[in-house]
Amino acid sequence: MKEGQSDTINSNSYFPYPKEWLDAESEDIAESVRKWADNEVIAKRLQFREDLEHQMRTLAILAVDIGLHRLIWPEEIGGVGFPLPDASSTLVRAYEEIGRADPGIGYISAANIALAATLLEDQGIGGEMKKKMAAAFCDSEDVELFSLILPGLGDINAKSHRIVSGREVQAELQNEGNGWILRAERARPFNSGYNASMYGVLASLPEGLGFAVIEADKKGVERGELLKTTGLSASLNSDVSLRDVRLSDDAVAFVDESFYKRLSAWMRLLTGSIAVGSAIDVYRLVKDWADNRVIKGKGLLRDNPMDAAVLAQVAMDIVNSRLLIHNLARAMAKPGVFGIGGGDDIFILSGVISVRVLDDCMHAINRAMEMMGSAGYSKEWHVEKHWRDLKTMQVYLGGRTPVEMDVARYYYGSDVL
């Protein structure tokens, strides 16, 4: 069975997750996304490969027709009204299915939903900004892509900005008369910097932090050249410079570090779910290989003890990762037990779990590629795309060391890190 055939494994029955944490409506949503994944993406992989127009068309079906991007917005402003933070498990199931199809589509969608969830939960965000965002998510017949510019690595030649959780803020806001001036020099967005219609920018203020929402066509927004990247082809990224971009008061919200932590936790939850879905699709592909490949002129690959051990590791990585990511969703859904969103408890837990899940899913895919040899490396079989996508997602999350510093601060009180 090569890619393009739609004989998909029912991941629900193969890899367990705590079903009691999802209601029937959540499973219905997951089922809709599952059909989208099988029919719109997996069945057409050989035809469209990484064609951007096809990726954007399928994203529109997901976000607008199925309504995933309206899911968590309140009904009174045009959304479906799934309450936060309870919707976390629902989102995990949906993004697992998207990850199975195309992690790149999942990634840009996840950035949008993580931003929406953060804005909805953060009490410091004003009603005007929420309405503006709701309109973009709920009223449009097209997908409005938001690009996130968040703290990350800095540059030795750049003017120093504020540090948030050891990361360097990439932009600065200055109050000027009746509005604001936003500046950044070659900031590196988290996603979609090249073709987003809106940017969400976490910027330093003389005192504290501000979050700004700006239209991509606003004067002073300068996109760099399209970055060619390893994977996540649906996310067209570029560096972005913001040259004295003038903003009105309603485009800027005063926030604190909890905004970044909350946004990070949502993003980690959703990208972890995508990674699990991606690994589940690789499992399907390598299982088919192992079911049909004869080695040493006699037995099937799956029946050779050495290969069976490797195949087992693939499955074990997925089982562990899936349980972990559903547990993170549950923890985020129960702030009374595990700590509030935006707090250190969930921020650290999300970092620990996402690093582990991404590592394990990468490990699973790497081992699956060993089993498939050169076929795993060939674009025809699609395993290599999952491999490239997950690695890209892993590094876009910032890598391991910044999370280790967070963990050391939290568990050991290492305040100077």
Partner: protein, 420 residues
């Protein structure tokens, strides 16, 4: 961009090494590195890539290196350091582009059977050397081993003795008639001028005498090279299916004959251990890139290289490069001197080559991933080239039977396993 490179110094005691490295490094820095980001889009057409390959293997003469001097070659196959020499080359070329390195390797690999002492087939050298003696055009050789079913089984000679080979060679008068289907040889997809083809003269036999290694010029009737595969990386290395339909070659195109073909084919497999230098060459360049990146980019207000936790990660990378290079060139020294260490076709040397290749490929892949992780969102940029090296390295880990064949062949020798 490159400020410093401690890995450019000599790693062997040979006075020749600095000169060879300098020639290749100048070529790499001027011809390949400035253009290698264009290679991914050139994977099918191969216009930019072939220009670079020609400037190395033809214009600098490496494509004739193995042939004895009496046939116009450099006599490398007669020397006491063919593997070490190849190691320097492979490192320096892979530092620029591992895909081009595979093209270079395949100038040597299929010809080992007839050009390297103690087994020089002078009649075949005289036949094929003229093809490679030009300095105007690149000539491509390919080693056709892998088949659609069972892949690396063919390389597992000591266990299967050719039992699974489906490509057949039938003697008809004074010609071999070859039929079969091969996958994945480097330098195919229309490139190959000459192929070394692993066949069986008796399908299903597990007798070494029935393994035949036969040279097939690609222009012959019945030879078809398919379209190149689209892959995750290694754009400069073209691979495709090859079909042989009633292809006729003279009977003396068989390298040595019953028993010896299988024996020397094992030696070819052992020399595959030089893939270690492909890995270390890649990592030398990853180090250079990281040096710049970690000096320019900051975390928590400090340059990355001055951040203690990042510095610890960086030290793991250089430690791996140091150890893997030492390992790789130790293996090359062993391969160079069968008089001291044992014949290259012996199970012991094959096991050592497999173990070294497995260790070095795994470790370098791991460290390349670590480099990408350190670079955060920039680690996936083609602009920094580390992600390209990561994509390229992966196939080195997977080819030559991948990790699992390396495991079996090393375990078989070191633990006297009877059934692996």
């Amino acid at each position: 961009m490159i400020k410093r490179n401690p890995f450019s110094k000599k790693i062997t005691s040979s006075p020749v090494e600095p000169y060879v490295r300098k020639i290749v490094r100048d070529w790499a820095d001027n011809v390949v590195i400035p253009k290698r980001r264009l290679y991914d889009e050139d994977w099918a057409e191969h216009v930019i890539i072939e220009r670079a390959i020609t400037s190395l293997i033809a214009e600098k003469g490496f494509q004739k290196a193995l042939f004895p001097a009496e046939f116009g070659g450099w006599n490398l196959g007669q020397s006491d350091y063919p593997a070490t020499f190849a190691g320097w080359l492979l490192e320096e070329v892979s530092r620029a582009d591992a895909g081009i390195c595979m093209s270079l390797v395949l100038c040597f690999w299929p010809l080992v059977m007839i050009t390297v002492k103690p087994h020089v087939n002078r009649r075949l050298c005289a036949e094929f050397a003229p093809l490679f003696l030009t300095d105007k055009e690149s000539r491509f050789a390919a080693l056709a081993m892998t088949e659609p079913q069972g892949g690396c089984d063919i390389e597992n000679v000591d266990l299967l003795h050719g039992k699974t080979i489906k490509t057949t060679a039938v003697l008809d008068g004074d010609e071999w008639v070859i039929n079969g289907h091969k996958l994945w040889p480097s330098n195919t997809g229309g490139l190959a001028d000459l192929m070394g083809v692993v066949c069986t003269t008796n399908p299903g036999s597990d007798n070494d005498d029935d393994i035949a290694y036969i040279y097939v010029p690609s222009h012959l009737d019945g030879v078809t090279q398919g379209k190149p595969y689209e892959k995750a990386g290694m754009a400069a290395d073209k691979n495709s299916d090859i079909w042989f339909e009633d292809v006729r070659v003279p009977s003396w195109y068989r390298a040595w004959g019953p028993g010896l073909d299988a024996l020397y084919f094992r030696e070819v497999m052992a020399l595959g251990g030089l893939a270690c230098q492909v890995c270390t060459g890649v990592m030398m360049n990853v180090y250079e890139i990281l040096y710049d990146f970690c000096s320019e980019k900051t975390l928590n207000g400090r340059p990355l290289k001055e951040h203690d936790a990042i510095a610890a990660e960086l030290s793991e990378i250089v430690a791996a490069i140091e150890v893997c290079r030492a390992t790789a060139f130790r293996l090359a020294a062993i391969l160079d001197r069968p008089d001291r260490y044992g014949q290259r076709w012996s199970p012991e040397i094959i096991a050592k080559a497999r173990a070294n290749k497995m260790f070095v490929a795994d470790r370098c892949m791991e460290e390349c991933e670590r480099a990408m992780n350190i670079m955060g969102t920039y680690g996936a940029d083609r602009e920094w080239d580390v992600e390209k090296h990561w994509r390229d390295l992966k196939i080195v880990q997977l080819f030559e039977g991948g990790k699992q064949l390396c495991q079996m062949e090393s375990a078989r020798h070191f633990f006297d396993c009877a059934t692996l």
